[in-house]
Point group: D2
Chain length 132, copies 4
């Protein structure tokens, strides 16, 4: 486990804007050059216009010029000791397009931690190649 990534995600979680579900989630990605980007879930009164922490995190990085080959891993954090908050399918789709499928996806709370390979979380994926 990358302690700095965990600390950054935990710190970011206080910025979660989850006024409807009160379910705080944050995420952090680490780049190969050591830089870290964080994100939180941001809800909307029109639920479909809400956004998850993992996607906010990746969108931030891409908006700063980061691309697939720059990213090393992504960690998801949900405060407390409830069940781990695994990434939703929508986030896996965004990860699938924006990260290498060999990247590590870590899922954590304050008492538990698990690691996966992105490709294992979205087998048989729909990809940009489908649209060519």
């Amino acid at each position: 486990m990358n302690n700095k990534l965990f600390d950054m995600a935990k710190l970011a979680s206080k910025n979660s804007y989850s006024i409807f579900s009160h379910f705080k989630v944050s995420a952090a990605i680490e780049l190969k050059d050591g830089r870290i980007f964080t994100g939180v879930n941001i809800e909307n009164s029109s639920y479909p216009e809400s956004m998850c922490a993992e996607r906010v995190c990746l969108f931030k990085a891409y908006s700063e010029g980061v691309r697939k080959d720059d990213i090393k891993s992504l960690l998801i954090y949900h405060p407390g000791n409830d069940a781990l908050a695994y990434p939703c399918g929508g986030c896996r789709q965004v990860m699938s397009d924006l990260m290498d499928h060999s990247c590590v996806i870590a899922v954590s709370n304050d008492v538990d931690y698990k690691e996966f390979i992105l490709g294992d979380l979205l087998p048989y994926s729909f990809t940009p190649e489908n649209l060519k």
Copy 2:
């Protein structure tokens, strides 16, 4: 393979509203009582407001009162002989909440066909239980 489900999905695919990608997808779900609902992808000039065939299909059924225990299987169809159009992560998330994880998810085109169990397409899923 369920030939009727395939025929219905293939027929529905002509209603695909994919004016930007020109990538036609349709889907059909079969209920335990034999009823079938179909859906197609419907794109929007604001891409995030587009919708996939699988979700349209499930939303239609739920809007008519269908619920999780009523659904038997879902088939995805992409016309032609290109690579199979596997369901995107967003659709798997919607299937995960709205269908039993033991349901069969079939993916087809005019020359190929594969079957999966929903639970295998979205392992370690985020579910309504997380929000309780």
Copy 3:
């Protein structure tokens, strides 16, 4: 006000799948040939993968081959006597692409009713013409 459209929307509202917000919404569109399609909001544990009633209704119609020139009006219904549930921006975007901007959009509950012209609800819209 179109009483049949209202009755159909009210009847459909019992199918609302709003297990997180408990905020029921339904919608109904009337075609020029008299046919009516209904929709409800369908929530997801991953909030961004939820869908609004207005969009479900339009997606259903399009998936059955209905197109822009076939649609006459859309009515939104929220049970009870709370504030009217005006359409969210995401739904207005979908209406903007899929309906004529001169269509009537009606918003109702059990005690109140208002009518708008679609074009007035989304002035200066982003349209498919932008992408040409």
Copy 4:
């Protein structure tokens, strides 16, 4: 017009990840304390999982702890001299929840510029008050 905001948005537009539409959009928000956040559109092979520049920009700011009262204005930029890229309805919904309705929304390209008040772009909005 705020020249610094425009310059930052124009600079950011090169990070647009619009590999399907090739339609580049960027956005920048200015805070009352002078800080600026930028965003770009980031597309996905599953179109509904794409995201607009305006939302990326606001999500970034909120994820860093910015809240409604901190934000002064938002500018949208589309390179070239095509028609102005007005914000889509989904983005107006996110602005509506995350910004004060009196904020200025500016829309620009390399030859044209227009200013609006947020509240005028999404009249009769659906808001968090509806869910209380």
